[in-house]
């Protein structure tokens, strides 16, 4: 097992009595479009800190960096996250196809990575992305969360921006 990032961080907090990383991180620039300058040993160590589930996957949330809208949630395996970090774009693992899913490959609706985060227990990834084309959902909507619970039922509450037959 990889060391728990949560434990490390909390120990550091307790040790120093505050949050020593925060100020430094605040002034860091957002990610460039690739991380080819980061050595592969660092990437492997970072991947080891993710708490992969028993299928070797981690859920990854994509948030629109401009609007703050949650665009979608999909899954990554180690290769998908490594590719996401290396290429600076969201690459998921398609559970139905058992293959890497380079978001936007057929639609052109690429998600360019602005920032990527991991949560306190290391088992969820959050990405800030630039959503090319303004459409994340295969139904032709801005994002996938199209059903809203109102009066006891799920109602469609997002407009179709573009007919999916024109996208694929």
């Amino acid at each position: 097992m990889a060391p728990s990032p949560q434990t490390d961080a909390r120990e550091k907090d307790h040790e120093k009595g505050s949050d020593p990383f925060f100020d430094a991180c605040e002034i860091m620039p957002t990610m460039t479009t690739d991380n080819v300058n980061v050595d592969s040993a660092s990437i492997e160590a970072a991947l080891d800190q993710v708490s992969w589930n028993d299928q070797g996957l981690v859920p990854a949330i994509a948030q629109d960096a401009a609007s703050g809208d949650i665009l979608m949630m999909a899954w990554m395996n180690r290769e998908a996250l490594a590719t996401t970090l290396a290429e600076g774009r969201a690459v998921y693992w398609s559970r139905s196809r058992s293959a890497l899913w380079r978001k936007g490959e057929s639609s052109g609706h690429v998600q360019n990575l602005k920032e990527i985060r991991l949560d306190c227990d290391g088992d969820t990834v959050l990405m800030q992305v630039d959503q090319i084309g303004g459409i994340a959902c295969h139904t032709g909507r801005r994002h996938c969360f199209m059903y809203r619970f109102d009066d006891g039922e799920w109602s469609v509450c997002e407009p179709v921006v573009k007919d999916p037959t024109e996208i694929y």
Copy 2:
């Protein structure tokens, strides 16, 4: 298997050539703090439309309704989602404790529900919440996504708002 909300919606879209629900939903008010006026048969039907995984769970994302920040991602089983809908607050399923997890029960950091959505394939829930106390994370941070990937490593990039030993 429950009918797929995705298929239903796309058929409706194709049938009518547009998005018949959107205008109506736009003017709907946000949720009240409970749904006790919704009959239980409706709730059961809505729960049937969720694509539960093989453990009977669905990932649920909590987004701060005011700031747009993603607060956390946790899991719900059928009972947790039913309770969330009935009580108008986020109730998760703790996989480690195998028990309902009424968020804020010990910390007071309740997540009051403003809106709840389901995604296109019915397998992810998104909640807009009012985060009581402004702290969602058990580490005493505003949200759980405390590690940012910078220069090849995960760095803590969120301040501790309150020492967790004072919360629990």
